[in-house]
Structure formats: C-alpha cells, structure tokens
C-alpha cells in the first residue's frame, strides 16, 4: 500500500492516519545507552543502522505519538530498505556500556537532542506520558544493569536468531508488558532457564523486589477492636458457669406415703374407699394399664378430659390413684401428669393383694 505522502504503509500502521503529523519522523531510543533521540526520518534510521549506530533491537516509534515503543526490527517501514542494503554484521567489538555512563535518560535534554537529528527536524513537544514511559524503561534497564548476576552481552544476534531469543525470553524480566524488553537482545536467554545454575539469591532484581505490599507510604495498620467480642464472650462464660453449677433432675412430687397406715392398710382401704370417693376423684389402674375414672373405663388419651369433667361436675379437687402393685410405673406417671395438667391434688392409695 502506498499513500500520497511518499512513505510506505502497511495495514498495521493504519492508525497513523489519525495523527496529523508527518509519518516519517521517528523517535529512537538507544537501548544500550538508554538515550532517546527524536526527529529521525526513516532514511536516517536506516542510515544509522547501516553505520552501526542503531541496532535492530533499539526501540522506535512514530514521533510524537503515544504508541508504545517497538523494536526497529518489527517496524517494516524502517527495515524495508535496510533489508536490501548491505548490512554490516554486528560489530564484534560492541562493548557493554561502561558503568560510569549515567543510566538515566537525559529527558530534559530531549528537546535539544541533535546527535542524529536531520537538518530540519520537526519539533513535537514531548508529552509527560512520553517522559514517564521512558523513565520506566530506563529504570528497568538500570535495575538490570545493576543486577549482580553477570549477564553476558554477546555480539548482536543475526535477525534470524532474534526470534528464538525472543521466544526464550525469561518471564522474570518481563513483569511489565512493555513491547520490547531489553532482555530480548541477549542470546543468553536460553541459559537463564538452566535450573541447575539458578540461584535464587542472584535472580532478577526486579523479580526479587516484587512484593504484593502496597507501595508508596507506610502501610496502614487496620486495628480490629476486640473489646466488644470479649465482653460478649465473658457474658456467655458467666452464664455457663452459673448454670453448670446446678444440674437439674426433672421430677414430679408425689405425696409421701404415710408408713403408719400400712399396718391397718387393709382395713383402712376397705373402709374408706366409698368415703374417699366423695372427696376424691377415683382413678383406678389395673396391671395392664387400663384406667377407670370413677369406675368408668376411660381410654388413656381421654383421661384428662374425663378428669376435668369430673372435677367440674362435682367440684372435687383431689385425685386418688389406686393402682395395682403390678401396674407398670409409666401408667401411674401418666396419671400423675394428668393431675398436674388439671391442677388436682394427688393422693396415692395402695391396693392390698386380695387374700
């Protein structure tokens, strides 16, 4: 695709149409020197590459745009002619940057960078985003340079070799999603995956420094006030202490049998049943548990209504229970319970065995 402006476009660069500035001005970032320069035309870039001043792993972007930095090798517009030209092999005497070179980008001098600027560079003001982005880039590179792990900076790999190196880029150096980390330029990327030599103490400084703690400022401590919970817990404890001290038996009180009456029990019973029935509601229970109220057979579930009726009709407020000695205890307890339900006083009589 060609446009009227004379620079070649690919489909990927369509977004450049939105930008009202010449498309053939590029900003360049030297990844070895950590220095950015502006105002390069595509021809200037190619010339610098052929001279060896720019490498394919250096970063470039359309001048003044807010796009991310991309490797020159990934920008066909800059590489188109360079691929045809007789490129020099990467200089074998490329040395790693000496340590005394300040690693911070001279951002303040960016506007005046004139090293490779053409005669009439187009001045586009640097935005703050540019500065911050470049600052982050340089800081990352500074950390990598300051890393104690010795990193060989070998000769520039040929373009064909760039892809495997890129694929083997260690993830530790790429915690951020920048388009072209510096580590891609290194052929030792494959060696980084050697688990035998991996020493956690010498790992990537950035990875080592990674922390989930909030950055910037002292961490605020969140205090949880436990006083209220302690109060509630004490309340519960005191309740259980007080109630645990007293264990309860559930029981029903019955009249104390008068032992003296046992001597003349037979006569007493024989004599007073009719008399007693005038004052007491007579409840008789046989050994099978069948109940009779005032000599009338009553089903156990009807005992309470019958007793209530007997009480209301005759006004008697006492129940006399005469149960066989072989009667199961549970039937007698049921009669006790019925009496308590209605509010009758209980008297327990004893049937003597017939002789």
């Amino acid at each position: 695709m060609q446009n009227g402006r004379g620079s070649s476009l690919t489909w990927r660069n369509v977004w450049d149409w939105e930008v009202s500035r010449p498309l053939d001005i590029w900003d360049v970032f030297h990844t070895d020197r950590l220095e950015a320069q502006r105002g390069f035309t595509a021809d200037d870039v190619r010339a610098a590459i052929s001279r060896g001043e720019l490498r394919q792993d250096d970063l470039a972007r359309p001048s003044g745009s807010s796009e991310g930095w991309k490797r020159i090798a990934e920008i066909p517009a800059l590489m188109a002619a360079a691929a045809r030209s007789d490129r020099k092999p990467p200089a074998s005497d490329l040395q790693p940057p000496p340590r005394d070179i300040p690693t911070a980008v001279l951002l303040d001098d960016l506007d005046e960078a004139q090293s490779f600027a053409p005669a009439n560079p187009t001045r586009v003001p640097i935005t703050n985003q540019d500065r911050s982005e470049l600052r982050e880039l340089t800081e990352e590179m500074a950390r990598e340079n300051a890393s104690p792990k010795p990193r060989k900076r070998p000769a520039e790999p040929p373009p064909a070799g760039a892809k495997p190196a890129e694929a083997a880029r260690p993830p530790g150096g790429g915690t951020s999603s920048r388009p072209a980390p510096v580590a891609a330029a290194e052929a030792v990327a494959v060696e980084d995956w050697d688990d035998e030599n991996e020493d956690p103490l010498t790992e990537d400084a950035e990875a080592a420094g990674f922390t989930l703690a909030p950055r910037g400022g002292k961490e605020k401590e969140e205090d949880l006030d436990l006083a209220a919970m302690a109060d509630v817990a004490f309340q519960l404890i005191m309740f259980f202490i007080v109630t645990a001290a007293s264990v309860f038996f559930k029981s029903m009180e019955i009249p104390t049998p008068n032992p003296d009456k046992e001597k003349s029990a037979e006569q007493a019973v024989a004599r007073t049943v009719e008399d007693l029935s005038n004052e007491n509601i007579l409840v008789e229970i046989d050994k099978l548990g069948q109940v009779q109220v005032d000599h009338k057979p009553v089903a156990p579930e009807n005992m309470i209504p019958e007793l209530r009726k007997a009480r209301d009709e005759t006004g008697r407020l006492t129940m006399l229970i005469m149960a066989d000695t072989a009667t199961a205890h549970k039937h007698v307890v049921a009669a006790y319970d019925a009496a308590n339900e209605i509010g009758l006083t209980i008297k327990v009589g004893k049937l003597m065995a017939e002789e």
Partner: protein, 148 residues
C-alpha cells in the same frame, strides 16, 4: 486511638496499646470447655416415663435412687443409690434405703428423687417411697423425662 497512633508515630515509649488477642483466645477456650460440659439435666441409666409437668430439682439438694426393672417377673426391683446402676451401690432392702436417706438428710439434702424405669411395678416404687418416707423432713419426687 488517634492519640495513640500519634504517639506511636512519634516513636515514644507511651504505647500502652494492649493486645487483646491472647485474652480472647483464652476466653474461647473456657467457653468451649463449659459448653461441652454443660448438661441440661442429668442423664439417667433407666428409661423413665415422660411427663409434661415435671419440675427441676437441683442435684445439690436431692438424693437420687435409681430403680431398675426386676430381672424376672414378680421379683424385686434393683434399687441403686445414685444415677447409675452401680452394683457397689445397690440397696438390698428397705432398711438400707432408709439408712442412706438418713445420711443424705444429715448432709443437708431434703429431696428424694426416685428414678424408676417405666416398667418397674408400681408396688416396688411404693416400697422404695415408703422406705424413704420413714425419714422425716423429706419430700419424694418421681423422676421423669422430658416429653417430646
């Protein structure tokens, strides 16, 4: 709390912030122990009949006689002192029952709770109650279970 924070920030030694975490842990330990040992009512060794109108009787004020059903029909029911069917505490006859109740009364207890199984013959319950009634100053209660 703001003041404490300010003092803490100044690095002064006036940081009297008391950490309550340990105390709350101990409290919960106590609470758990009491919860597990808490009993609403004493469990009995026999199946007492259920009743709706039972009242609570404190253990400290009562002597418990457990009456188990007789092993053979017509035989005497086993009477035990306490809530368990402990052979060491079996009371053979009425005299022993009376003696034990007298000892309890001397110890300050005023209630006799007869926890009799539902199948115990009524005559046996009356026998035990009669033996206990010979001691003065007591009231007799029949132990029941909660009606569900």
């Amino acid at each position: 709390m703001l003041l404490q924070q300010q003092l803490r920030d100044l690095g002064q030694s006036g940081d009297d912030h008391l950490d309550l975490t340990a105390m709350v842990d101990v409290i919960f330990q106590l609470l758990t122990f009491l919860l597990l040992t808490y009993q609403v009512s004493m469990e009995s060794a026999v199946n007492m009949p259920a009743a709706k109108h039972g009242v609570g009787v404190e253990e400290s004020d009562s002597i418990v006689l457990t009456v188990a059903p007789p092993e053979s029909a017509g035989g005497a029911a086993g009477v035990y002192l306490g809530t368990k069917l402990d052979a060491d505490k079996q009371l053979a006859d009425s005299d022993q029952i009376q003696q034990k109740v007298e000892e309890a009364v001397a110890g300050g207890k005023r209630r006799v709770v007869i926890q009799a199984d539902g199948e115990v013959p009524h005559g046996e319950v009356l026998r035990v109650a009669g033996a206990a009634a010979k001691v003065e100053g007591i009231s007799i209660h029949v132990g029941v279970e909660e009606l569900r």
